[in-house]
């Protein structure tokens, strides 16, 4: 027996409900405003589910767009409607937090291809009345950003004060500045890269193959069936979760410690705490995430290579932009290492954009961007406060008081 519990044989109904009827704000873009996709197709009508926090000021100049990572969603700073857990970035976003909802109007939307209410493979295709499944065109980071730009326009915001995000969210930040340089005043790409490496693609492929190897995946047509591809998706999550942590942190947290036993059982039970931990991560993930959606979002990251869209020159992607940047990496992040961040910084420098760069010392690996790392919080706060002064947003210290 593999060990992912059997009671997870069906994805909770709540996850499916969120795909069709999300517990958040939704914009339905009518057929006359289709989403043009890099795959060469359009989808219409389509939907974007989003959350907002704080108040948009009179001049509409204090909007911050937060872009979520691979399996994140729009619930940045509120309890998650399926799991009940706190928002995924509630350390960063909220009243008095670095992205201060008392000062800024924060928007976060579920990406196209996601499964929390924006059009994705778990949504119903209005043309057929059936779940999209793999009939949905393959989604790219640029498609996600194009959809976000439509949402931002719909909200009546011309220029975003800041676009911020980590990991896949950071890719969206870079794409935003490349696609809409005049609409982004400041940018905060964190623990990210301008392209996916062979290793990044390799790990994602392992995850996708785990999903597709599950007989219940059924070629992507599992909607409404009794059996759901939860085992494959759980394995995908387990493998991915290892890449989010550092070896040092794993060793410190788990070492070779045994789980509720004093000696190995000479079986394939979860003897080690790390096994138990990963199994828990896998089985809780399938409660809130759609297997096909996992294929789409991992694919979007793999296809991301911003320089490739600009004749192989990353600097050219940013030419002419005036956006002020703060790039952040973490010492123990081996998924998107500091060298990736430096490549972005060099390109920004070459394109003469104002850029700051900080490498935060931590042993928490890639996941550090989601955690309350004091130096990281201080950097973000300082960057946003100075950008707010430059933007003339009230509420911060004035330039003269320093």
């Amino acid at each position: 027996m593999f060990g992912i519990q059997n009671h997870k044989a069906t994805v909770s109904n709540e996850a499916f409900r969120e795909a069709e009827n999300p517990s958040s704000l939704v914009v339905h873009f009518p057929p006359d405003t289709p989403l043009v996709m890099d795959a060469g197709l359009t989808i219409s009508p389509f939907s974007i589910a989003y959350q907002t926090y704080g108040t948009l000021n009179a001049t509409r100049s204090n909007a911050v767009l937060v872009c979520h990572a691979l399996t994140g969603d729009q619930h940045v700073a509120n309890a998650h409607p399926v799991t009940g857990k706190p928002g995924w970035w509630s350390t960063m976003v909220g009243p008095g937090r670095p992205i201060d909802t008392d000062r800024y109007f924060v928007i976060c939307s579920n990406v196209i291809g996601g499964c929390m209410g924006s059009t994705g493979p778990a949504s119903v295709n209005p043309e057929t009345g059936k779940v999209w499944g793999l009939d949905l065109p393959v989604v790219t980071i640029r498609d996600m950003v194009r959809a976000q730009a439509m949402l931002v326009e719909h909200l009546g915001i011309e220029t975003l004060f800041c676009v911020a995000g980590g990991s896949m969210g950071g890719m969206q930040v870079l794409q935003w500045v490349a696609s809409y340089p005049d609409r982004v005043f400041s940018a905060l790409p964190i623990a990210t890269a301008s392209k996916h490496s062979a290793q990044n693609i390799a790990f994602h492929e392992v995850g996708r193959q785990a999903v597709m190897a599950d007989p219940d995946w059924n070629g992507g047509r599992y909607a409404g069936r009794a059996g759901q591809p939860v085992k494959g998706l759980a394995v995908a999550r387990m493998a991915a979760h290892i890449t989010y942590l550092s070896e040092g942190a794993l060793q410190r947290k788990f070492g070779r410690k045994l789980q509720d036993r004093n000696a190995p059982t000479f079986s394939f039970d979860a003897d080690f705490q790390i096994e138990n931990y990963l199994r828990y991560q896998g089985s809780s993930f399938v409660d809130r995430f759609d297997a096909n959606s996992y294929l789409y979002v991992t694919r979007a990251c793999d296809y991301f290579d911003l320089a490739a869209d600009y004749d192989g020159s990353l600097a050219r992607a940013f030419l002419g932009a005036k956006t002020r940047f703060c790039v952040v990496s973490f010492t123990s992040d081996w998924l998107y290492p500091t060298s990736d961040a430096r490549a972005i910084v060099h390109a920004l420098n070459a394109a003469s954009l104002p850029v700051s760069f900080v490498e935060i010392e931590t042993d928490k690996g890639h996941d550090a961007f989601l955690l309350d790392e004091p130096d990281f919080m201080a950097t973000t706060r300082g960057f946003l406060e100075s950008a707010a002064r430059a933007r003339g947003l009230s509420g911060g210290e004035s330039e003269n008081s320093r």
Binding site: R324, C326, R342, V345, H346, N349, A350, S352, P354, V355, S356, F357, V358, E359, I360, E361, D375, A378, T379, R381, G382, F383, E385, S386, A387, R389, A390, R402
Partner: protein, 215 residues
């Protein structure tokens, strides 16, 4: 005012050489401050002189301080990271009190003059008579107010005299636009004083350089 030659972000505030460096930068240009510490000089340049200023700083605390001031500063190392900057990206590249702490001072200087049209370098003069006399009469590695470290824990691994520096400038094919030597009290020495006097009585020096040879 007496400055202390302490590389890193601790010592930038109130350093007299910073004012001299800032004086050499024409308003409105683009400047890169290598080893910008807590950003005191960059702030002077950007706020008071309308310079588009950027920085490189090795310490996390320094970078965080700069970012909070709204300065554009990249965490990095003068020895390794200057190579990544394109040619002619800046009007001025500044290295204040950092040259003697680099592993490859010649390379660093060459990169500075590749990246910028002009380079501004300030450094402590190891030819000062106090330094010389400590070695001569005490037979010990010198420790002065401006070089306050013991030989075994000093970050200053490539100290030079004003004469040494002038020779290096010639070797890399650069020209000196301006040179200033400061005496022990931080006052400018007489402009018409001969080089040997500067080398003996100047405790620190500030040089404005430009490229001479066509690369």
């Amino acid at each position: 005012m007496i400055y202390k030659a302490i590389p890193g972000f601790a010592g930038q505030a109130n350093r007299v050489d910073l004012v001299l460096v800032a004086d050499m930068v024409e308003p409105g240009g683009r400047a890169l401050d290598v080893g910008c510490g807590d950003g005191a000089l960059l702030q002077m340049l950007t706020r008071d002189q309308g310079v588009d200023g950027r920085g490189i700083e090795i310490s996390q605390a320094g970078v965080n301080g700069c970012v909070a001031k709204g300065l554009s500063v990249v965490q990095g190392d003068a020895d390794t990271d200057l190579a990544d900057y394109p040619d002619d990206a800046f009007d001025y590249v500044i290295l204040s009190q950092t040259l003697q702490a680099t592993r490859h001072p010649k390379q660093v200087l060459e990169h500075m003059l590749r990246i910028g049209r002009r380079a501004i370098v300030s450094f402590p003069n190891f030819g000062h008579w106090r330094v010389r006399s400590q070695l001569m009469f005490l037979g010990r590695m010198p420790r002065t107010e401006s070089l306050a470290y013991s030989w075994y824990d000093t970050p200053n691994i490539h100290l030079c005299t004003i004469r040494d520096f002038v020779q290096l400038v010639d070797e890399i094919g650069a020209s000196i636009d301006r040179a200033i030597a400061l005496d022990r009290n931080g006052s400018k020495m007489r402009v018409n004083a001969p080089w040997w006097a500067w080398n003996l009585f100047g405790e620190q020096a500030v040089f404005l350089l430009h490229r001479r040879k066509i690369r």
